[in-house]
């Protein structure tokens, strides 16, 4: 496609990769935290709720800087992870981590709402029929909240595609390595004559966002019909 140069294409592909992995790693803890918040009655529930929502309220640059402080290879945690071969700072993996954290509150909210909509009576019925708590979750709760999980995943994916502040602070803006779609648009706009390339990227992000939205609508309609039991 002549609309985008190789550097821009690289940014698009990297962003898709980052957003995909960010959504994927955030899903299991996202479901777990949403379940704890919806059904749990433990002390510190409000504290957990606050902590989950923090990235939504803090300036993204602050989140990025906190990540950089704790996970750079000179910090104790970052150094320990480096021993295990895991490095986040200035790598695409760091971008996936930052994007996942920024999308986490949105994902948890969507899933939590869908868990709260599940009749606890159904889970009780499953338990009286011999299902352990884990089995109740896997066979009753999980299938019934699939639409919510899908909605949460799409939201987190969209957020990850557009994440800018935390990403650029944590992993910088290295073309081919950490330059995601928004960072690339920002970079193009910094150089004279870069508006054309920036506009191409803007068009691509609109197309990706619309596709994701329509796809999720279609899937969730199908799931909702199945879950309604008709």
């Amino acid at each position: 496609m002549s609309l985008l140069g190789p550097e821009a294409w690289q940014a698009v592909l990297l962003s898709l990769k980052v957003a995909f992995w960010a959504t994927l790693w955030a899903l299991p803890p996202g479901i777990a935290v949403a379940h704890a918040l919806a059904r749990g009655t433990f002390p510190g529930r409000h504290l957990l709720n606050g902590a989950v929502h923090l990235p939504l309220i803090l300036p993204p640059v602050v989140t990025g800087y906190l990540l950089l402080l704790t996970l750079n290879t000179n910090a104790p945690l970052g150094a320990a992870l480096e021993q295990l071969g895991i490095v986040f700072a200035f790598r695409w993996t760091g971008a996936a981590l930052a994007a996942g954290i920024m999308g986490f509150p949105l994902m948890v909210r969507a899933i939590r709402l869908s868990i709260e909509a599940v009749d606890p009576g159904l889970e009780e019925a499953a338990a009286t029929l011999g299902a352990s708590r884990l089995r109740v979750f896997a066979t009753v709760t999980l299938p019934l909240i699939l639409p919510g999980i899908l909605a949460g995943a799409i939201l987190a994916f969209a957020k990850a595609m557009g994440e800018f502040g935390a990403t650029i602070t944590f992993v910088s803006n290295i073309p081919g390595q950490t330059q995601t779609l928004p960072s690339a648009i920002y970079a193009f706009l910094q150089v004279p004559g870069g508006e054309g390339a920036a506009l191409g990227l803007v068009a691509v992000s609109v197309v990706i966002a619309m596709t994701a939205l329509l796809l999720s609508e279609a899937i969730s309609r199908r799931i909702a019909r199945r879950v309604a039991g008709r």
Binding site: D119, G121, L122, E124, A125, A126, A127, T128, L129, G130, A131, S132, R133, R135, V136, T139, V140, P143, L144, R226, V227, A228, G229, R230
Partner: protein, 362 residues
């Protein structure tokens, strides 16, 4: 196997303190709403953890606060039929039915899917989704699902309360069959006298979180001192044998040695049925009335009398070995000088016993 329950629990202002036994057969927990019936069933199921007490099913201890035992619901081996069916909406009827069976211990014996589907008349529904079923169908599937979990105890929490009259009479016979064919203890919550009269082999009356009375259905329902729903709903249960069908549509039954004439009861001679006779349908006379349209005039002896706080009174009567209840006014009680030991005649119009009040005996 007998279920023994002894528990104390506090729910806000409400204190629950009950002890009773449920032998094999159908035990009805009977009382008005708010008497604590559902809490007792939830405690037996493990969905509510009582503050103190002990619940055991035969030798198996489900809960013992002193020993620190609390089996979670999924290890109690019970079949719970909820008022609102609670079928899994994302599964077909077949998968709903098989949900508990797959989780039952391998060695647990019990009826299979085909047998249960036939018993409940749901063979044609197996591939349907719960969302498209009627209330009665849903409740039948819920009963089947509970049965197929190979339970050692069946709990039913007002399983008919959400259904209209037609659906109720559709489901009642299935509970009668369960009671007579499955051989498991069934703990059944109800606040409807008609259900108790039809189903119960044993009745536990709850009043404000306490057991007011327990015993056989005939004993408890004919006790004028125990009217959890008020004297208006009082009524006794007679065990009767079908003697013969008269050509004019009247069925002659025998209650002990006494004849009882009712509108057609579709059973063969020799069959044993239980007849629910409401106290307000029984009239009393000091001499045998002549020239009266009522078909049944039974010689009875007054056992006890309970004067209500209002204008009413309840009289317990012995008709042979059976017990009847009659609800009259205090004015009549005084006019007839009713006292224990007195001989009277009880008058019962045949048509006042609705076909629904006659059920399979046990």
């Amino acid at each position: 196997m007998t279920l023994s329950v002894d528990l104390q629990h506090r729910l806000g202002e409400f204190a629950l303190d009950v002890a009773f036994e449920a032998p094999p057969g159908l035990t009805v927990l009977f009382g008005r709403s708010g008497a604590g019936k559902s809490s007792v069933v939830q405690a037996v199921a493990g969905l509510l953890r009582p503050e103190a007490g002990r619940i055991a099913l035969g030798e198996r201890v489900l809960f013992d606060s002193a020993a620190g035992v609390f089996l979670p619901p999924h290890r109690r081996r019970l079949g719970y039929v909820f008022q609102d069916a609670r079928l899994f909406p994302h599964m077909s009827v077949r998968r709903n039915l098989l949900y508990g069976q797959r989780l039952a211990p391998r060695e647990a014996a019990g009826p299979g899917l085909d047998e249960v589907a036939e018993l409940l008349g749901i063979e044609a529904l197996l591939e349907r989704r719960p969302g498209g079923l009627s209330g009665g169908e849903r409740q039948r599937v819920a009963i089947g699902r509970a049965l197929l979990a190979r339970p050692q105890l069946i709990l039913a929490d007002e399983p008919l309360a959400a259904l209209d009259e037609a659906r109720k009479s559709e489901i009642l016979p299935y509970f009668e069959r369960l009671r007579d064919e499955i051989g498991l203890p069934i703990l059944y919550v109800s606040h409807a006298t008609a259900e108790v009269a039809r189903l119960a082999t044993h009745v536990v009356v709850l009043e404000q979180g306490r057991v007011a009375r327990q015993g056989s259905a005939a004993e408890v329902l004919s006790d004028p001192q125990v009217t959890p729903l008020g004297a208006r709903a009082a009524g006794a249960v007679l065990e009767a044998r079908v003697v013969t069908q008269h050509p004019d549509g009247i069925t002659e039954l025998a209650v002990g040695a006494l004849p009882l004439l009712l509108p057609r009861v579709a059973r063969a001679p020799g069959a044993v049925v239980r007849v629910h006779v409401e106290a307000q349908d029984v009239m009393l006379a000091t001499t045998r009335p002549e020239g009266i349209s009522a078909l049944n005039v039974l010689p009875v002896t007054v056992r006890s009398l309970r004067l209500g706080e209002g204008p009413g009174a309840l009289v317990q009567l012995a008709a042979g070995d059976s017990l009847l209840l009659s609800r009259i006014t205090r004015r009549s009680a005084e006019a007839l000088k009713i006292a224990p030991g007195q001989r009277l005649y009880a008058v019962l119009k045949a048509v006042s016993v609705a076909p629904d009040s006659v059920a399979e005996g046990s």
